[in-house]
């Protein structure tokens, strides 16, 4: 893979190259449009770097397989789209509870169910957040360019390994199937974090140690390294064995939530454009943020004070850019989404009564056009001035 030279790359292809650069050694999957190229390219590239590709019988097994491979010490990933993402949820919950680092790529297409396989949507935002049951935090990153499909895949692995948690790369068909000019970072520019290994001898090692500091996560011994420990989806103590002790159980659940919320500032932060003096903010993620960026630039060209907040980490929800916007007493926050309104819910929660929060929503696999967002900006500025 050529470094430093401009290349025309597909979003899904950039995701695979990012994964390999981050140290991916095991991929298990059940190919599905519009994520198929990820499986195809993993099958082609992984054997060349000493990795393994497994075509599984279904998505449930794929998710189980990457949990197993990760526990054996290999960086692991699977890729799917909405229908498969639904099936993976049970074992994503297992990875959350058993604190197994892994990366799950969801290239979103139109749902529910098999929906429209080749068409773009952003309908899995809430499934990423709450698709698996029980109180948990999840990390989900949303690339909006081919370059980000690369850099955020690397980031996803780093976060997964550092926090011992599944990380969702929430792509959409628009980005997954877009070819774009990119210059990938060279190896020396790339930060790759590897899993911490225990320095205590077997017998003293606690795979689920609670250090009293939520940001500190126990190292993970690989199967075969000589450490014996128990891995379960049941609520467990520091040794990994199940517990029904309410205090221990509550403590463990709290810890796996806090390890993520306490690290919000270390996760990829939002991109902001023209937010300093903005009167109307557009809050947009993933492929749709490309339309939003164009709309904001067009608005500025017309003298309209619009600004863009593009969250890169969409879960956990990072409030700071919106709180900063709120302090500027904006006329409105516009939230374009290729769904009926999902990320708009936490945006409304943060903005409260400060200003109207307006959705621009589109279904059926069609992209939201920049002019549709521009119209919403114009309307917000007009009605904001009238009141």
């Amino acid at each position: 893979m050529k470094e430093g030279k401009p290349r025309l790359l597909l979003g899904n292809e950039a995701c695979v190259e990012g994964a390999i650069a981050a140290g991916l050694k095991f991929f298990a999957g059940y190919p599905i449009t519009p994520s198929t190229e990820i499986a195809e390219l993993c099958a082609s590239y992984l054997p060349r770097v000493g990795g393994k590709f497994m075509q599984m019988e279904d998505e449930i097994a794929s998710m189980a397989a990457i949990c197993g491979a990760s526990l054996a010490g290999r960086k692991s990933m699977t890729a799917t789209s909405g229908p498969g993402f639904s099936l993976k949820q049970e074992n994503i919950g297992f990875a959350v509870e058993a604190e197994i680092p892994c990366v799950v790529v969801d290239v979103q297409r139109v749902g529910p169910s098999t929906g429209m396989p080749t068409s773009a949507a952003q309908g899995d935002v809430m499934q990423a957040r709450w698709g698996t049951h029980g109180d948990h935090e999840i990390v989900a990153l949303a690339p909006s360019s081919v370059l980000e499909a690369y850099t955020l895949t690397v980031a996803a692995f780093n976060i997964a390994e550092e926090l011992r948690t599944p990380v969702i790369l929430l792509m959409d068909e628009m980005v997954g199937h877009l070819r774009e000019k990119v210059v990938l970072p060279s190896k020396s520019e790339l930060l790759v974090k590897d899993r911490a290994k225990p320095d205590l001898p077997p017998g003293q090692y606690k795979p689920y140690a609670d250090y009293g500091d939520p940001a500190k996560v126990a190292p993970l011994a690989a199967f075969g390294d000589g450490y014996k420990y128990h891995v379960t989806g049941l609520t467990h103590g520091e040794d990994g064995f199940p517990t029904n002790n309410p205090e221990l159980g509550a403590r463990q659940i709290k810890r796996i939530n806090d390890k993520i919320t306490s690290r919000k500032k270390d996760l990829p932060q939002a991109e902001e454009l023209f937010t300093d003096d903005a009167e109307v903010f557009v809050f947009s993620y993933g492929g749709t943020a490309r339309s939003a960026k164009k709309a904001v630039r067009d608005a500025r060209a017309k003298g309209l004070k619009a600004g863009l907040i593009r969250p890169v980490t969409i879960w956990p929800f990072i409030e700071e850019p919106l709180l900063k916007a709120k302090a500027k007493k904006p006329k409105a926050v516009i939230v374009p989404e290729m769904n009926l309104g999902q990320i708009i819910l936490p945006v409304k929660r943060v903005m409260g009564d400060a200003c109207p929060v307006v959705g621009v929503n589109k279904l059926g696999g069609r992209y939201i056009e920049p002019d549709e967002i521009l119209d919403a900006i114009k309307e917000a500025i007009q009605s904001g001035s009238a009141s």
């Binding site: 025309l8 877009l178 000019k181």
Partner: protein, 179 residues
């Protein structure tokens, strides 16, 4: 500078490949930015196929094209569907091997028997590369040499000679229709 291209025809005619090569030539061999996107149904053979390319000196935010400046159509169905959307004063390149009837349009219409030419060169499957040569020759959007390098880098091994011949035939055709 910003140019928007649409290549449309039937699945199997290789128009997505031609679009990828055009975008790659711009991305990998010039200073321009380039994006390429496509729409296709679950059928990859015989159904309609459309690929878009934007080449620009600026950052390209929104990758979809509303009304292309340059349109290539290789089936009658694609012609009927996309010609009315061409930007006024733009250019329509028509493969008249399959397109018999071009709706009236405020654009320069260039007709050439692209598929027939490819067949004459050996295999109709290289019609997309003849078309690419024609596009590059007529628009000058990327240097011919850069486009040829991208063709050779992205066609199946063993077919380089035929594809090179096809590309050069397209370049030659551009000279003929322009003269």
């Amino acid at each position: 500078m910003r140019k928007e291209f649409r290549l449309a025809g039937a699945g199997g005619q290789g128009l997505i490949t031609a679009a990828i090569i055009l975008a790659a030539a711009a991305a990998e061999h010039t200073e321009y930015n380039a994006v390429q996107s496509q729409s296709y149904g679950p059928e990859s053979r015989g159904g309609s196929s459309k690929a878009d390319v934007i080449i620009s000196t600026d950052e390209i935010d929104y990758p979809e094209i509303k009304s292309p400046e340059i349109l290539l159509v290789m089936t009658q169905e694609a012609c009927d569907k996309f010609v009315p959307g061409v930007r006024p004063g733009g250019m329509v390149i028509v493969d008249d091997t399959y397109v018999k009837d071009v709706p009236p349009i405020d654009a320069k219409v260039i007709k050439y028997s692209i598929s027939a030419k490819a067949k004459e060169l050996g295999r109709e499957i290289v019609a997309n590369i003849v078309a690419l040569g024609l596009l590059v020759g007529l628009t000058g959007i990327v240097p011919e040499e850069a486009a040829l390098q991208s063709v050779l880098a992205r066609v199946p091994k063993g077919t380089e000679e035929l594809n090179k011949t096809a590309f050069l035939a397209g370049i030659q055709a551009a000279k003929e229709v322009n003269s």
